[in-house]
């Protein structure tokens, strides 16, 4: 157990080191730094989407809170000249506040109705940004969103508006946000969430304030989505509310695919899913027009053959291997009893099935618990 924990920690430290020294590894290759920074921002966004699956809902509206976070941050910095860090927090809080207003009616409905409501809300926010020209620049977009600017660090003047330097801020914020989400999943508040996920009605009957806990979950997820939007705005420097931009419906679908491909039952699922699919998209850039098709095909294949996603693959292989081994053992056991087996086959073909079924079924139950 402790050995496995040690290996896990080592892997995390290695990943963190690689991510931190990425600009050095890439020797300042601005293109790849941009790709990886956007990847990190998307990981936070997909994690916020996954956080809502803890109450058994699927939000297609996280992008809506990204729109709010991004535009509030841009407006505060460009028109209000607010400090970068303050603006970052305020815009995430605004997203969370809007989520709080929407949460009660949204979470009163469940399943597909919740998904539809969130999807339409996201589209509404995007269209508001699209048509509120005086505030957001409309379809022309908003350009010149500043970053944190030049900061004196250890005597040197570092310009954080440069992607290579802003990269560290983006990574830092994403890591802290992910740690918060990770902690919340281990805090006691996750237990009522689990109860709600398993059975809404029973959770209410044992005294859990179902709607209240769901609202808290939704608001936290919106905060994280808003934060990712704000980080994005200062990174990209320009925002476009176009339907083909990252604020469109397509993005919501992509986020969902990232989560499912990675494995929505695992905290690292969004990280792995987003990383794999983003890098795949970069590598297949030469056949860009086929990309949605490729992503769609991958999503379908993963859902059919790897229902637990990429992260769940080792466990899936292990359990199927164990089941197969036990089935072979059971078959061998049957072969060793020729009298009963022969009698079963002699009387009826169907009798053979119940004879082999119980030994095969019993061990598979055990594997489920282990």
């Amino acid at each position: 157990m402790s050995k496995r924990g040690g290996i896990k920690t080592a892997i995390w430290v290695a990943i963190l080191l690689i991510v931190v020294f990425m600009p050095q590894i890439l020797r300042g290759n601005a293109y790849w730094i941009t790709v990886i920074a956007l990847l990190a921002i998307n990981v936070l966004l997909v994690s916020s989407l996954r956080s809502i699956t803890l109450i058994n809902e699927i939000s297609l509206g996280q992008v809506g809170f990204v729109v709010i976070g991004a535009y509030v941050h841009a407006t505060l910095m460009m028109k209000g000249h607010v400090n970068f860090w303050a603006s970052l927090i305020i815009s995430a809080l605004v997203a969370a506040f809007i989520a709080l207003i929407l949460a009660y009616p949204f979470l009163k409905v469940r399943g597909i109705y919740f998904s539809i409501l969130t999807l339409l809300t996201a589209e509404t926010f995007r269209l508001v940004a699209y048509y509120w020209t005086s505030m957001t620049g409309g379809s022309l977009g908003l350009t010149g969103v500043p970053g944190p600017g030049k900061v004196h660090i250890a005597g040197a003047l570092v310009d954080f508006n440069k992607p290579g330097n802003y990269y560290y801020i983006a990574i830092g914020i994403v890591v802290i946000a992910l740690l918060i989400l990770y902690y919340l999943e281990r805090a006691y508040i996750s237990f009522p969430w689990r109860a709600i996920k398993d059975d809404n009605t029973l959770a209410g009957a044992v005294g859990i304030n179902v709607i209240g806990y769901k609202m808290v979950n939704f608001v936290i997820a919106a905060f994280m989505a808003g934060l990712s939007g704000a980080v994005f705005a200062s990174f990209q420097h320009n925002l476009s509310p176009d339907s083909t931009s990252r604020f469109g419906v397509t993005m919501s679908i992509y986020l969902l695919v990232y989560m499912v491909v990675g494995g929505k039952d695992y905290f690292v699922g969004p990280l792995l899913g987003t990383a794999v699919l983003t890098l795949l998209a970069e590598e297949t850039r030469f056949m860009q027009e086929y990309q949605p098709m490729i992503i769609g095909a991958i999503a379908i294949l993963v859902m059919i053959f790897m229902p637990m996603g990429l992260v769940g693959l080792p466990r899936q292989i292990k359990s199927s291997w164990r089941t197969r081994k036990l089935t072979t053992l059971a078959a061998a056991e049957d072969a060793r009893r020729p009298a009963t087996a022969a009698a079963g086959e002699a009387t009826a073909v169907g009798a053979g099935a119940p004879a082999t079924a119980p030994p095969a079924a019993a061990p598979s139950e055990k594997t489920g618990q282990g």
């Binding site: 919340l184 281990r186 805090a187 006691y188 508040i189 996750s190 237990f191 009522p192 689990r194 109860a195 996920k197 398993d198 059975d199 009605t201 029973l202 959770a203 209410g204 009957a205 044992v206 005294g207 859990i208 304030n209 179902v210 709607i211 139950e365 489920g368 618990q369």
Partner: protein
């Protein structure tokens, strides 16, 4: 305490469109009794329980529990006041182990303020000795103490039913609503469940309302029963009186004219 009404249901109605599933029913439940709620299929027994525990909203009438008017309370607030419910289907937290289910049931005893919910880890709350003891006592009571770490869905039907009761009892309720606790059980499981229900009532003083089709079980369990038919209260009294009542026999079996 016995003799005082713990739950007063006055003129309660619930309509589904044009159908009155519960139609102007008034029932007083005394503290410490086991009340049987019987009637043919579709009489409104389960609807009645859903109205009392808040799963369904009341159309008209009032429900008072220990002096509080709870008519408009959501389910979780009724649970705070001490109403617990066992659903007709085996409603359990399916992703949880047997022990975790009971722990979720004792949420009201283990919950913290907003900062506590975030400040404490789940692991820490789970290992608190008093919580653990509370849950293990309950599991021992229903006879599931050696299956604590199994997933609840791997239990057989009868044991799942017993676990449902343990989950409901985990919040130390004053009123327990049981919706057909004996359905689908064999003779042995039925006896075990009846023993559990009786013991809950005797040792904990929990008031129990039980909806059940098994008339023999109702006769054995309840001192008093209420008969519903087409959403209306037909009669009430001791189970034997009720079963002998011509109106009840008519409701269950019809009249000679129906047969002819």
């Amino acid at each position: 305490m016995t003799g005082m009404a713990i739950l007063e249901v006055k003129d309660l109605s619930r309509h589904f469109g044009g159908l009155a599933a519960v139609n102007h029913v008034s029932v007083d439940v005394e503290d410490g009794e086991i009340l049987g709620l019987i009637g043919p299929n579709g009489a409104g027994k389960s609807t009645m329980l859903n109205l009392i525990d808040g799963t369904l909203k009341v159309s008209s009438g009032t429900i008072a529990f220990r002096g509080h008017n709870i008519t408009r309370y959501p389910p979780h607030r009724r649970a705070h006041l001490g109403i617990a419910r066992v659903f007709q289907k085996n409603a359990l937290f399916k992703g949880m182990t047997v022990l975790e289910n009971v722990m979720a049931g004792s949420y009201l005893l283990t919950r913290h303020g907003p900062w506590g919910m975030i400040g404490h880890t789940y692991e820490r709350v789970r290992r608190q000795p008093e919580t653990l003891k509370h849950c293990m006592d309950l599991l021992e009571f229903v006879g599931l103490e050696d299956r604590t770490h199994e997933l609840c869905v791997s239990l057989p039907h009868g044991s799942q039913r017993e676990l449902c009761v343990a989950v409901a009892l985990a919040s130390d309720p004053a009123l327990l609503l049981l919706d057909e606790p004996l359905t689908g059980m064999n003779a042995e499981e039925t006896d075990s469940m009846i023993r559990i229900i009786k013991e809950v009532n005797a040792t904990r003083g929990t008031t129990i309302i039980v909806v059940e089709h098994n008339v023999r079980a109702v006769l054995g369990l309840c001192a008093r029963s209420v008969v519903l038919n087409y959403g209306q209260k037909l009669t009430e009294g001791t189970p034997r009186q009720c079963v002998a009542d011509p109106a009840v026999i008519e409701a269950y079996l019809g009249t000679d004219h129906d047969v002819a």
